[in-house]
Amino acid sequence: MSKPVLQLKNASIYQGDSLVLSNVNVEVNKGDFVYLIGKTGSGKSSFMKTLYGDLTLTEGEGHIVEYDLKTLKEDDIPFLRRKLGVVFQDFKLLTDRTVNENLLFVLKATGWKDKTEMDARVEAVLTKVDMKTKGFKYPHELSGGEQQRVAIARALLNNPELILADEPTGNLDPQTSIEVMEVLQEINKNGNTILMATHDYALLLKYPSKTLKCDDNQVYEVVQRKG
């Protein structure tokens, strides 16, 4: 059996000096689609930030895509993030350039050199999220759902071993949420591993999957009752 993509053992997550989550034991295997639910302020975002190196893990063990979070060096963080795809609640596209340029920036930043290969890759990921015809637009000219789909396309660029989606539907209306969710489901079916933080319980019911819950400084798995 292959090693889990993400593994936390007895980890404690700190936001500044305050303890947010303690004794966290989580394992995510290749191809999983895992929800992370919990109220606002329960520590979902801090959990995610720890995974992509925006917060440091000081207690417990943590392994993510071959990186040890405990011994992660500042200089390694960019390379860890290249193996992850991160999708944010507020999209975080570069507002001063077009969709294509946004994606090309990521490719250039992660060491791609060949122009035709880069263009092909951009087109490929935009096709996956059904945004191929809007590459010339600026982010502010797109709707929220479209921006989020571009953000997902960006996360896919480097074939990430794990996609971290931090409330990807948090800023979207229910209808658009479902569209974005369909995209994520599609990607998951193609073999990508996804960890998605959300507080949108309607989505959980519509697309049931393994679910972790943050509550009372703890993370535990919950079993969905059918019906």
Binding site: R81, V106, A109
Partner: protein
């Protein structure tokens, strides 16, 4: 649509860069002028020092041979820049021209003496040197009196010292202001992009990769600012040189070139370092700290 947005954005960028370029240009321009002043301070002070006149009044009984010999020996000595023999008739003419009336009319004869005006080289215009020189001249039996304005010499030497000191202090302050002003302009520009910088980090760009375009952009502004400053300096230098050609501002082209190159390099170095520090600051912050 896209093109209009691009145009709008470009215009906005240009106007915000304009102030950065202008502040760089102004500061470098002032710094360059000060540099010119420092480079030419000695020449300017020498110019004034060499205006000091030491007058040797000759006795009525002085023979022409003796006078000529004194003139010759003065002209050959290493502390003399130029000498001028002024006969008492010439002196009377000068006095007449200055006063506007002929004093000989009511005095009845010319009371003035033949004299030699000596201009000294700047390095010897100190009260000690002047005293020595005047004593030497006065010891000759055909010399009646040697005069010079000792107070003026002391005042001048004092002032030159004071002025050079203050020029240095002001240059130092200006350099500091230059660095601070350019630094704060650049920091503001980088600050406005702090979330962009953070996003770039989130998608796996290395610090160096993110920093490069910022540094390049600022250095470009620095180059433009420096060129503007250099053009300003060249214009000022041209007119100063035309108006005060006796100062020979351009007599040392190597130094002037060095000054220009130095100002240009300063424009690049300051913007480079400021941008490096400013971007580094935001690159090292965690996302949560950006909101403060």
């Amino acid at each position: 649509m896209g093109s209009r947005f691009e145009k709008d954005q470009k215009r906005r960028l240009i106007s915000s860069y304009f102030s950065v370029v202008l502040s760089i240009a102004l500061v470098l321009f002032l710094l360059g002028l000060l540099g010119m002043l420092v480079l030419n301070a000695k020449k300017v002070s020498d110019h004034f020092k060499e205006q000091v006149v030491l007058t040797i009044y000759l006795k009525e009984s002085a023979k022409e041979v003796e006078t000529k010999q004194l003139e010759k020996s003065l002209a050959l000595s290493d502390y003399v820049k130029s000498i001028e023999y002024v006969s008492k008739e010439q002196a009377a003419e000068i006095m007449k021209a200055e006063n506007g009336e002929d004093f000989m009319d009511f005095v009845g004869y010319n009371p003035l003496q033949n004299s030699i005006d000596v201009h000294l080289k700047a390095d010897f215009v100190t009260s000690e040197q002047l005293e020595k020189i005047s004593e030497e001249a006065a010891s000759k039996n055909f010399v009646d009196e040697v005069t010079y304005d000792n107070d003026l010499v002391n005042l001048m030497n004092d002032n030159v010292k004071k002025i050079s000191f203050w020029v240095l202090v002001i240059s130092g302050i200006f350099t500091l202001i230059a660095v601070l002003l350019i630094n704060s302009s650049i920091r503001l520009a980088v600050y406005s992009k702090r979330f962009t910088i953070k996003t770039m980090q989130m998608v796996g760009a290395t610090k160096q990769f993110i920093r490069r375009p910022f540094v390049w952009q600022s250095v470009r502004l620095g180059i433009i600012g420096a060129v503007v400053a250099l053009i300003g300096m060249a214009i000022v230098l041209y007119y100063l040189n035309k108006t005060f050609s006796e100062l020979q501002l351009l007599s040392n082209p190597v130094l002037v070139t060095l000054l220009f190159v130095g100002v240009f390099a300063l424009g690049i170095v300051i913007t480079w370092i400021s941008t490096h520090i400013a971007t580094q600051r935001f690159l090292n912050l965690k996302t949560d700290d950006l909101y403060y």
